[in-house]
Amino acid sequence: MSERKRFGLRRDEKRESASQWAVAWRRFKKNRAALAGLVMVGTLVIVAALSDLLAPYPARPDPRSLTPLYEGEASQPPSWKHPFGTSAVGYDVYSEVIHGARYTLYVGMSVSIITMFIAILVGAIAGYYGKMIDNVLMRITEVFLVFPSLLLILAFVRVFQVAAGTGFWIIPVLGIEVPIGLTIVVMILSIFGWSSNARLVRGEFLRVREMEFVQAAKALGASNRRIIFRHILPNILSAVIVVGTLTIAYAILLEAAVSFMGFGDPNAITWGQILQEGFPDVRLLWWGEVFPGLAVLFSVFGFNLLGDGLADALNPRLRE
């Protein structure tokens, strides 16, 4: 450490990495679609953070969420008072959609993080060590890639939800309350979603493994772990970020579908859950389906645009 400081290496490193990100940002700024994606994702984050301020009525377990019902305003079309109308039961659809933003981010971010963790682990080991290990790991990945994952996702979600029961689970350190059923959906989506990402990470590892600086590190006697995490991983970080962003979009879409088919958590009113509850009345109360669906479309579109834009900016080679 002191040696680095003495030779001023640290400052140099910092400046260089800053300029690399600055170059990417300059490229990103020029891309109008990417900027639109950033604005859309930013909107989603702000809505999720300020949902209690933006929503006129509180979230579901609170009895005040049924205020429209007590005021005799159930099944009302969109108006100034209820911009997205009210459901047949008597919830304000606008408030429900606003509160759903938090769950959407929770599902998207956690599935993306867990998926990328598994993908990097498998991809790094397979891509770096190669040979037999690579062969075995890639065959396992193929099993996950080929089969109809939605079917098993539904079956596993249902089994675990019935076994675990409903309610809330408090994350020990952070003290955040998360619905058990929704967390099970997150886990299952991650377990079935890592395979294509792992293949991509493996491909990147195969490419970087052969580069001179890795050979140099090896010649200097660096350990495998050090080479994987300190030398190769930072070099494929841009690909990881891009795929991670696109995985968020995948998770949001899939969670909505799982909830819509009736496998969601009744304690977590996600957008998919609102869509499921509104579907039987869609003929008369179209607003109960149109607005939550638009919210899903908006978020997924935003993350897709952002992911494509990041791919262009960070790594022109990744561009399709």
Binding site: F147, A155, V162, A163, F301
Partner: protein, 326 residues
């Protein structure tokens, strides 16, 4: 001869894949702990003796590896076991619903291919033009859209508002619900097919167009395309004979791999349109925790996916002779 050897090798290669998937699917049973106690949860009037008898009847009292082997050997012989509810054979339960799913999916996939190949080529040939931007935006929109929600919107517009097509089912009651297709039974079936097929077409087309465009762009940059153009060939010949044959390879690979995803997406479309197919059967069975039916449908769709993969491999080798030599 070498093509035959290649096909046999691919077929043998699929066996471990099949075993892996079957094991993973079977895990759902022992992840549940004991299917009978889970399926009878919240029904206190079922006594412990009855449960024991049920376990013995369905063979669930044996150790899990034995259960798996019994299930697998029955599966290979085409016997999917009995439903936990009422004990009817799964084959009989699935029956005609299988063909309804096949009908819907085949129409959807073939139509989407027929549209997406020319559209993808057009988009690639006019890269960054207005046409290209419109096509790619529509495609990105399709990738970002929840499949089931698109179905809901189509029902709202074309069924409830315009009254052109029925909103649910595969057949039925044309006199009760007249559509623009009249009351002829065949046209009635077609009218029921239009909206769900449209959903499959749009969503899979969105993926295919993106892929074909990317692949065409890659190929059009190659030197041999320039050479073909320089030697005075027509634009049409260069595009369809020289470029497309090379650009189509990754698309075929992707199609084989994504077939499982497309057919596996059947629960979504079939739930929205109340389509009497495997997907809806599956959703009902999964909600009711009817394991033999869940496993049966999963394995049927797995086998369909593997067959699609095999066909992909064969056509791959047929188009590109280099594959066979390797």
């Amino acid at each position: 001869m070498s093509l035959f050897k290649y096909v046999v090798r691919r077929f043998i290669y699929m066996i471990p894949l099949f075993l892996g998937i079957s094991m993973l699917s079977f895990m759902v049973v022992f992840a549940a702990g004991d299917p009978i106690s889970i399926a009878t949860l919240g029904r206190p009037n079922i006594t412990e003796e009855t449960k024991q008898a049920l376990r013995a009847y369905f063979g669930l009292d044996k150790p899990i590896p034995i259960q798996y082997l019994m299930w697998l050997s029955n599966l290979v012989r085409g016997n999917f076991g009995r439903s936990l509810y009422g004990g009817r054979p799964v084959n009989q339960l699935i029956g005609s619903w299988f063909w309804e799913t096949i009908k819907l999916q085949l129409v959807g996939i073939l139509l989407s291919l027929a549209i997406s190949i020319p559209v993808g080529i057009l988009s690639a040939k006019r890269q960054y033009s207005k046409t290209d931007i419109i096509i790619t935006s529509i495609a990105l929109f399709g990738v970002s859209m929840p499949t089931f929600w698109l179905g809901v919107i189509l029902i709202l517009i074309f069924s409830f508002n315009l009254g052109w097509f029925p909103s649910a089912g595969a057949y039925g009651a044309p006199s009760l619900w007249p559509t623009i297709f009249g009351t002829n039974p065949f046209m009635d079936a077609v009218a029921h097919l239009v909206l769900p097929a449209l959903v499959i077409v749009y969503v899979s087309m969105a993926q295919n167009v993106r892929l074909i465009r990317a692949s065409m762009l890659e190929v059009l940059r190659q030197d041999y395309i320039l050479a073909a153009k320089a030697s005075g060939l027509s634009d049409r010949a260069v595009t369809y004979k020289h470029a497309l044959r090379n650009a189509i390879m990754p698309v075929i690979t992707f199609l084989g791999l994504s077939f499982g995803g497309i057919v596996g997406g059947a629960p979504m479309t079939e739930t929205v349109f109340n389509w009497p197919g495997l997907g809806r059967r599956f959703v009902d069975a999964a909600i009711g925790l009817d394991f033999p039916v869940v496993l049966g449908i999963t394995m049927i769709i797995t086998v369909m996916t593997l067959i699609a993969n095999l066909i992909t491999d064969i056509s791959y080798a047929a188009i590109d002779p280099r594959i066979r030599i390797e």
